[in-house]
Amino acid sequence: MITFVQQVINGAAAGSVYALLAVGYNMVYGLLGFINFAHGDLYMFSTFIVLAMVTLHVPFWGAVAVGMVAACFLGMSVERIAYRPLRTANRIAPTVSAVGVALVLENAAQVIWGPATRPFPTPLPQGLFRVDGVVITAMQIVILLTAAAIAVALRVGVYHTSWGRKLRAIRDDLPTAELVGISVNRLVSSVYAVGAALGLISGVLFAAYYNSVYVTMGLTGTLNAFTAAVLGGIGSIGGSFAGGLALGLLQSLGAGYISSGYQNTITFVVLIVVLLLRPNGMFGKLTAARA
């Protein structure tokens, strides 16, 4: 029983980190129906910027602020340079340019910071508590609270602000939204900025939780975000959180109770079963294909 509770807690913490990454990814998909394969690399790159700042003795929260600004700036630049010119093109075109952006970011990071895995010094609390033999770390509480706070903030932002209303208008019908005077480019740009900023929060939590920052975390991140998004319901914000948590729990319980060698296999078998039963994911709405 202790082992089970322990696996659930650890899985939930890992899942919350996936969820925060999946949210930024899913917002873009929900808005434009476009798979941003560079999302993970943006998160990797901005996390490295935070690490570089910390290494230069910038206070931690200052470094996170710089990283946040850099992430927003990177997210918006990538959208402007690589995606906007392709918005009306065939869907495959922006997907390919996203893979291109991912490769450029990955290789640039490798040239600047090198290929080695680096530890992440953090002032976030590292203590742990024992409750009836189950270990809970302070970092896990920080992660769960941050994810919950962001989930609430996004819910409010999307459903109770004018920004959110415009966003939903674009999602429902982009040309009409433009006709009624919504500045589509500015809104899309802001979604990329918000997505990248959430990515950075996820990156910092990931780096602090696993004490590691490395170049290929971008690609792994993209794959985890993609899996979480598909599992939860692609395009749905609530679905990203559900998908992220489900992914974390699957990995943790799959490795704990079946076999660690089959960790990824178990995850993807469940993914396939979910897609067979609910093709739009756990929380996705069934929609007719857009022509």
């Binding site: 202790i2 082992t3 322990q6 696996q7 650890n10 899985g11 890992a14 893979v99 991912a102 490769l103 990955e106 290789n107 490798q110 090198g114 290929p115 080695a116 895995t117 530890p119 742990l128 033999g133 189950v134 270990v135 770390t137 970092m139 896990q140 990931f206 696993y210 004490n211 590691s212 490395y214 170049v215 290929t216 975390m217 690609l219 792994t220 794959l223 899996t227 990995q251 943790s252 319980l253 799959g254 490795a255 704990g256 660690s260 060698g261 089959y262 960790q263 990824n264 296999t265 995850t267 993807f268």
Partner: protein
Amino acid sequence: MQRSAFWSSQSAFRTLGRLSLVGLVAVGGTAGSAHAGNQSAANGAQRAGTIEIASFGALTGPDAVYGVSSLNGQRLAVDEINASGGIDGRKLALVQYDDLCEPTQAAIVASKIISNKSFTAAIGPVCSADALAALPIFARTGVPLIMAGDSAPQITTMVKEHAYTFATRLSPQDSQNGPELATLAISVLHKTKIAILYSEDDYGQGVLAAAKPVISKLGGSVAAQESYTPSTTKDFTPQLTKIAGSGADVLLLLGYYSDTGIAVSQLARAGVSPNVTLIGSDSTAQQPFVTLAGAAANGVYLVPFYSPNNPSAVNRQFVTAYEKAYGSAPTGNAVMGYQAVYTLANAMRAGGSSGDLAERIRAIDFEGPAGTVDFDANGDLKGNPATVLRVSNGKLVADQKLTIALEKALKSD
């Protein structure tokens, strides 16, 4: 290994990325440490009297740490030999090739090397899978190959089966490290309930396969046996939580430091008791392991085949020179790279310029920083005594008492 389509596509993406980088480098001519092989080899043929050595290994990519260390060791040896007048007045020159630690790339690099007649010998690579891919290609011309960091037992099988007399291997084997770890745990530290965390690749499986029969022979039992995907798994808590519940009193870490370091930093979180003794394999015994693992690394035992603390005079001189040149202590890969160049140089000195160089390499016998360099009939390094290190205040410190106890225990088995 049960890789799903997603993870294979990940490595495909990565390959693409690296190839594009290699392309950029070749076009831009800003090759950094790896200067364009073909061009300089062509010039080399004109530089009369220079002895050209092809050097290949992972110089970029996630495994670059191993390749770059090896290259550093090779460069140091070449500089030392050249400074003392070279070999019979001829200077040594290294020509580097990057194989990214990928067998497909290693095969391409090997073809490039054998098609260039100006090479006297080749040194490399640092990954076993690359060596297995390159060996059959080197067999076409039989240019002497000194493998400097490949520990997989399959290499011996291949060399033996095909009678690859051109090949020698300077790296101790996984089949040696496994029994050492098991013996240290059971016979020396008297811990019999053993948990194992191993990397799901040739390296981790190789060490595991060699350790298991020794564990049962010495009367120990395997309480838990958990694996992870090297350089992809970052969350080790599911595996460690299972280990915590297994009641093991010792945990063997069979993997590369970049993975095991992170795993150790997560021990407390998974509820693993601080009373569980930790023993790390050769590839874990690197200083950055401690940086990644943090305070939890203190007290961890490590059993590398090489320690910079080895008190021999030749090692002290090597460590001083290496630290002066590169600002850090040499690793196992660095010492293998260094010894590889000396193996070649000593073999060339031994027989002048005539006769079969590969044969003379196999006959070599000299003292290197990591111990005696001496090959058996399959071109494998003869047994190297293991060193036991312990992490103390964040430093890897040699434990003489345990080293001697382990040597004794290994002999009595």
